[in-house]
Symmetry: C2
Subunit: 151 residues, 2 copies
């Protein structure tokens, strides 16, 4: 298996996008996750949910899926810290069986003033279902290593 080369700070081009997935939501996992962390009827009670459009994924479970898919991107060795998220929006419900693809579109980059081996990079992460609708979206700002800090 050929591994995708790591993406370093120098490789980031605002406007460009990369993808991972899809992740198909298992009904039992959706319910089990919510039963521990967010036991709302829409996430854990099939009878209740069947009268309201069907079981939906908890927001925190969507975040977990996003993070799982992030590990499929070639950023594991180059992203060294997360500063934070902004504009987190839950735009559409996700249901059991939905196939969610993660898209990361770079929006901004700048070198660190204090540490020459890294930069601050912002991208918009979106979980997108099979019909192309964005389910969840947010901006993520991370610290990212340079391939050649001395240039």
């Amino acid at each position: 298996m050929n591994e995708t080369p790591d993406i370093f700070f120098e490789d980031v081009v605002p406007g460009n996008a990369i993808q991972a997935g899809p992740y198909v939501i298992p009904e039992n996992e959706l319910m089990a996750f919510a039963s521990v962390w967010d036991p709302m009827p829409m996430h854990v009670d099939k009878d209740f949910a069947s009268k309201h459009g069907g079981l939906t994924a908890a927001g925190i479970y969507l975040f977990a899926i996003k993070m799982h898919l992030v590990h499929m991107l070639p950023l594991r060795r180059t992203v060294i810290a997360t500063v934070g998220y902004d504009e987190v929006r839950f735009l559409r419900p996700a249901h059991p069986g939905d196939a969610l693809t993660l898209e990361l579109k770079w929006t901004d980059k700048r070198r660190s003033r204090s540490k020459p081996d890294r930069g601050i990079v912002t991208g918009r992460y979106s979980l997108i279902n099979a019909t192309g609708e964005v389910v969840m979206s947010h901006l993520d700002t991370v610290l990212m290593l340079l391939r050649s800090p001395d240039r």
Copy 2:
């Protein structure tokens, strides 16, 4: 057991705060959660982590703990939807054994223009450790029911 009365839109006073917890982080849960959703060495590899200040909680696990504690607040019947999060910041690491308290400080409220039975309410959620340091913080905007929509 006396249940705390539900908090409705009318009860929200910007500047006021409510708390839930603490939640004491079990080491095995911290590692198990991350092994599924965010298997970084700092979260799952005790040997690696011992050389770097000890195991730390994954950000997504902190979100799960926050949501668990939200269910301890008297909002379960009155908050009907989450619009989104803003200014999510991971400010300090959390470690096994840390006792995290959730604080919700209301910051803003307004009536819905289109639906008289609800309002839009924003608050700042903070997970705070036993020494009073904020570990994670974000703004959360929700739709909240009015007790008396006709007034």
